[in-house]
Homo-oligomer: 719 residues x 2
Amino acid sequence: MTEKESGSVLQFAPFQSAVDEGFWHRLSSLKLNKFGIDESPIPITGFYSPCTNSRVSNHLSLIAESLPPEPSEQSSVTTNVGNRNRCSVPGILYNTNTFEGFHALNKQGLLKAEAQKVWDDIHSGKAEEDCAVLSRFLLISFADIKKWSFHYWFAFPALVLDPPATLVDLRPASQWLSLDEAESLSAACNEWRSSSVTTDVPFFFVSIASNSHATIKHLKEWPSCQQDGNKFLFGFYDPCHLPTNPSWPLRNFLALIGSRWNLEKVCFFCYRENRGFADLSLSLIGEALLSVSQGFPEHKNHICSGWKDTHLVPNAVGWEFNRGKKVPRCISLAQSMDPKRLAISAADLNLKLMRWRALPSLNLNILSATKCLLLGAGTLGCQVARLLMAWGVRKITLLDSGKVAMSNPPRQSLYTLEDCLNGGEFKAIAAVKSLERIFPAVEAEGVVMGIPMPGHPVPSQEEDSVLQDCRRLQVLIDSHDAIFLLTDTRESRWLPTLLCANSNKIAITAALGFDSFLVMRHGSGPISTVTDFEAQDMRTLAAKMGNFSLIDGDKEQRLGCYFCNDVVAPIDSTANRTLDQQCTVTRPGLAPIASALAVELLVGILHHPHRICAKAEFANSTDSGSIEQPLGILPHQVRGSLSQFSQMTLVGHASNSCTACCTAVVLEYRKRGMDFVLQAINHPTYLEDLTGLTELMKSASSFQLDWDNEMDDDDCIEI
Amino acid sequence: MTEKESGSVLQFAPFQSAVDEGFWHRLSSLKLNKFGIDESPIPITGFYSPCTNSRVSNHLSLIAESLPPEPSEQSSVTTNVGNRNRCSVPGILYNTNTFEGFHALNKQGLLKAEAQKVWDDIHSGKAEEDCAVLSRFLLISFADIKKWSFHYWFAFPALVLDPPATLVDLRPASQWLSLDEAESLSAACNEWRSSSVTTDVPFFFVSIASNSHATIKHLKEWPSCQQDGNKFLFGFYDPCHLPTNPSWPLRNFLALIGSRWNLEKVCFFCYRENRGFADLSLSLIGEALLSVSQGFPEHKNHICSGWKDTHLVPNAVGWEFNRGKKVPRCISLAQSMDPKRLAISAADLNLKLMRWRALPSLNLNILSATKCLLLGAGTLGCQVARLLMAWGVRKITLLDSGKVAMSNPPRQSLYTLEDCLNGGEFKAIAAVKSLERIFPAVEAEGVVMGIPMPGHPVPSQEEDSVLQDCRRLQVLIDSHDAIFLLTDTRESRWLPTLLCANSNKIAITAALGFDSFLVMRHGSGPISTVTDFEAQDMRTLAAKMGNFSLIDGDKEQRLGCYFCNDVVAPIDSTANRTLDQQCTVTRPGLAPIASALAVELLVGILHHPHRICAKAEFANSTDSGSIEQPLGILPHQVRGSLSQFSQMTLVGHASNSCTACCTAVVLEYRKRGMDFVLQAINHPTYLEDLTGLTELMKSASSFQLDWDNEMDDDDCIEI
């Protein structure tokens, strides 16, 4: 810019941006929960106010409310209208998915598009109706939510006058005005700013009558005022404190004045405040000359109606400098954030990202609300707990009676050597501490207790405490949504299986052999299919289960539990086991695989419309029904072998003679409660009599079991 | 026992046992490493010495050397012969596999069997030749190696005289003998004890001539001495200090004297010492009457030659009391052991138990000696490291350039929130610390560095440092035995694949998609099949590889590497990835499964006779060759899907156009070294030209890839 004869080129102090952390937090949340990979531009709002201090300029600020409300919030209440410190500036945000995308944005094009809007609003008259649109801004960003760092760049599009305006005079308003005029203008300004209707209207004009009385008027009043002979000042809220320059908002105002109102000589009023009141010695008044005939393209071409044509838009400038350089800014919030909060948002991140593309129907709310009870905190229990957390499950209870032994840490992934010292910490306690170290927001609980088992008769003096354990287990199962059976003996799974069948709870079993495993979900409880059971209970149950059992209506198709294939009641399997039969003797790779499948099975059940009643599905089979689940198939049983590197899905239906889940057993339990349990514990053959297994065995003494049986012989896992 | 007219019933102070911790340690080790489930009785040796203190009795002690040597030790040198404090007592150990087995042992039967041996030795004359066999002992035990606790029970079989011997007189030897006799006996005893030939001969007789001169003689001399008219004392090393009773060893001695030598009146000499010398005021001399005619069954029946008949063996007693009760003892060593040592033995335990029955051919030495290099310490790296430790691998190096981020702990099982604070610890460092907390004897190392990648061109000022990284990687790969490729991008696997192919190292890749995975072992390097390559190198290589490639002789059958299916060189895949494409977006269950299979694959390779050259095997197929491996099949590739709960084994042979492992690439690398690597990094199309892929693509531009390709698109895993 070169100097002109009668004055210097009018120069403007640029807008300065300031972004509150809250803005980035909400942007991250919206990106994760709402926008996903959608890169559409987002309308946002910036806020500024007139300069309020003789030594500091005000910024254009972005705060959380600059963004649309989060899905979880109520629809945004526009509390900003009438806030004297928050004059709105309409803005637009281009947030890219990648860093490369951020750099590849067509910055000149985006700026031009915003300038076009300003230009259009000037010439459509919209700017006179709502002068806030005269200042616009543009924000491009890449939000690296993983690292909590944000790359961004502001632009404040300003239409370029060509040739530039010439500054004839610039002085503090108090010097430019007479004392009377100044007093009157001060009063008018204070009134304007104190009214909630006008306080955030940043552009206006001042009409000063010959009696020195100053009046502030809306821009839309200009056409009717311009001929009244008064002095006019074109005023705007000036965020800048410098005595030497007006600031950025004046640029587009001058464009309006010059191109819309065709004035060649403009007195502008940079309104500034101190301690909340108009300060006319801080405020400036200047006189500028606009070359209207050459000032704007359409004037050059003398096509006054041509200003709507895109190619006629004047050039625009306005990318913000970063310490004197034309480069983007970057802010990292990781340091300033509370570690626990960071951990929570980071953990959520991985999960929410799945919904962007891979699994949009993933229901993280169901997962985080599901209460999981893990029976056993050994090799399987540790791994299942870890994987539940990785899937976003937050409520995890671990039950185990054992202490951490020296041989545990290499395989039981929640424990370290420290947990083994001084006799060993209880596993249930150590596991909870470990989970909290991994993810502090987990709601984990440890329960130190054993599970009463059939075939382990109870001496009469211990009867009370065993019954207490039974009742405690019942309460635990009833207060959880999904139960994992991860204990090391067959018989310890009996009571939980019965209680789950009775309460119709999701039950998932994982059991290991030396190099083979079984992972299965138990079928629904039998009572919902018993037509002659108390009607009231039936209705309650059916309602709870969404009537799926009634819809399916096929008694025979109820899926089996862990005991449904057996022809003998569970007995004490721990007696006479040599060290190598005590079940830590499994190939180390087995437990992680079985645990992973068990957890994936739960996630599948929770996402299936029929939940616990879902039929067994098979890979690429027609049996999987018409419903194609985004998570894939939901099998009943998965069996695998490490020696064959093979895996297969199987189905086993509920047995009418099952010692744990058949109607007779569940009805007997309902009728006799803990008496029944105690009898089963002390006399396992009682279960065989009750279920008819005794008869069955007599009639088919040569009955042979296949792989199932071989598997079950050593299904116990860890100590 | 009732008193007799002329005296009281002779009563004996029982033997007392003492077991050194070293005994239990060696027993545990032998059980684990040698005996396994074999419950055969084990010959052991106890040690005792005459009482050496007027206030304390000596024990029958078991020490480590009481047991056979461990397999790792040199064959036992019998350093105990001639040790004055270690008179041997032959014993036998019944160590059961289970606690129930321990209790179920037929204690009366076992005791009787030992008594039979004593009886046989008496009457075969063996006891006169080697009097140590007069005292025997029996030990039954159950070693709970898992808990380091030991249940055990000693028996010191003593033949019962019926009716019992009558004690006529019992006094300190110094009172019974004349002063001269006492002096002479003292001298004779000290001489006997100071000679290495006789010091550990615990039974003898003393002949006192009429001139008071005492001579000590071996039992075998008795037949020739009994008629010489001297006074005779039957002496034995008495471990007991009591002035009121002789101790246990006298019982079987009296049986010998009564039943073999038919004496009715016996003067016995309880030899005791003080400060290493005969102490005749502590030693006792007693006079006992044996009812020879009724004393033993064969005498009752007057069938003198009938004493070899089993049913004629006298009754035996001798089970040790435990605080006055007839119950076994139990000792726990866990508290007294060094935690690190306990951790090591506990970790070994799980593995060694596999060899008892499930997997006798498991070679734990190979596993513990194998040096594993893990490229990537993310979700896969953490899990692989844990599983390697669980398999007994002790030398683990983790390479990663990244730091632990907030989102990592829920999925990356070696990290906690603590590792994320203050910007995050380097993963390679945090992982090593974590491994050491789990198992302090691990030899883990962390290397913080990135892997140079094709398609990520190197600015010239960084060339030196990148080349340094390349060389460092080469050194690392050459100094390890097995390399796991667990990084998060395709291209970061290129250089390791090439270096492994060049050095013929075991390379195992694990790669994840959203819900599918690939785990594979790379084939052997190409050079061993290149006949025109320098002969010297060939011979060296062939020697290293045990000539398997020559035996196989089938060029076409070399197994492929991770890149063999590709028709394009690896390029920069990280640019332009949105957050959800940055590969943490996998189903959480996937990484544990893939990691487990990768580690099991390594264990399989290390146990296969052809190691890296082993052909691809399939489940239940005839292709698996004639060698049935105890670990099962050794596939080339395992691919699985969580959405289908399916898994399959595949084979892919090496491609002549592979950009990472084909002959042309490896030869070029050998020729040009790091220059070649740098060119490949800066210009990945160079690899396509070199391998002929460029030509291939031209000639088959419509070539379509199947699942492989789909998989490879998102094989990257964790950040």
